[in-house]
């Protein structure tokens, strides 16, 4: 009797599992970026040569547009409202880092208003956010 040999098949690597992992990673990163989502105000960033990373674990961002409008979390706020927001954030976590993101063309008086408020609240360290000079 003639025995018929089975033809050898080459090794196959299944990549089905890889796409599953890729999608899980994708969902994970999308969720993380949603947590870090921030409401941005359209500003032209000031530029400087020397800068450092000022991001901390807990951050609070105050935006000032070219017209001097003050924004927090995407909403326009007055200095009085901002005072309450900062006081609440600091009482909740004293290590919160406050960032001032002002437009490069903003008259300094508006930035100074926020800095004076921080002084009044006895906040010690403030981050003035700038971009790297091209």
């Amino acid at each position: 009797m003639k025995i018929r040999r089975k033809g050898r098949r080459g090794p196959i690597i299944s990549i089905n599992a890889m796409s599953d992992i890729a999608f899980l990673l994708l969902i994970f990163i999308m969720l993380i970026s949603l947590i870090n989502y921030r409401q941005e105000i359209k500003i032209e960033y000031p530029e400087a040569e020397f800068q450092e990373v000022t991001q901390a674990d807990k951050n609070l961002e105050i935006w000032i547009d070219a017209a001097g409008g003050i924004f927090f979390d995407g909403k326009a706020v007055s200095l009085t409202v901002l005072e309450g927001i900062i006081a609440d954030a600091v009482s909740e976590d004293p290590s919160v880092r406050i960032h001032v993101l002002a437009d490069r063309n903003t008259p300094y008086r508006h930035v100074n208003g926020v800095i004076e408020l921080l002084k009044l609240l006895q906040h010690r360290v403030v981050s003035l956010v700038v971009r790297e000079k091209p």
């Binding site: 299944s14 990549i15 089905n16 890889m18 796409s19 890729a22 999608f23 990673l25 994708l26 990163i29 999308m30 993380i32 970026s33 870090n36 921030r38 000031p46 530029e47 400087a48 040569e49 020397f50 800068q51 450092e52 990373v53 000022t54 991001q55 951050n59 961002e61 960032h99 993101l101 002002a102 437009d103 490069r104 063309n105 903003t106 008259p107 300094y108 008086r109 930035v111 100074n112 800095i115 004076e116 921080l118 002084k119 009044l120 006895q122 906040h123 010690r124 360290v125 403030v126 981050s127 003035l128 956010v129 700038v130 971009r131 790297e132």
Partner: protein, 136 residues
């Protein structure tokens, strides 16, 4: 004669590899987006409101930043290059030199950032700035 039909190949989308490529591209996109959210700039220590510090008058270098962005030192307008020379000379003579910057309320914020950037570059440890009067 019997005609043999070719079997249609089933396309497995997962085995094509395109899907996983797409997923990885999206992952890279989100990672890059997350990096954009990192703030960079200057960390400034703020003094207490109305706090005072006693300084030796000879250690102080006073600079005014006018509304048109011009720097004024002892009544003369100076460039950042000139200021670099002045500060370097003073730092040799007086290592405890304090740079006091008075800023016009109407000056563009970028001009203030440029002076702060200069101070960082020159590693001036004692630096203070405040807003001046309207007529600077």
């Amino acid at each position: 004669m019997r005609i043999q039909r070719k079997r249609k190949k089933r396309i497995d989308i997962a085995e094509s590899g395109a899907l996983s490529d797409l997923a990885f591209l999206l992952i890279i996109f989100f990672i890059v987006i997350a990096v954009f959210n990192v703030n960079t700039g200057f960390l400034l220590g703020l003094p207490r409101k109305n706090s005072t510090k006693i300084l030796n008058v000879e250690d102080i270098v006073k600079i005014n930043l006018r509304r048109d962005g011009v720097l004024v030192h002892e009544g003369t307008s100076v460039t950042l290059g000139d200021l670099e020379e002045i500060v370097s000379e003073r730092l040799i003579l007086r290592p405890n030199m304090t740079l006091l910057l008075t800023v016009s309320p109407d000056v563009a914020y970028q001009q203030v950032v440029e002076v702060v950037d200069f101070v960082r570059k020159k590693q001036v440890e004692n630096f203070s700035f405040r807003m001046g009067e309207d007529d600077l």
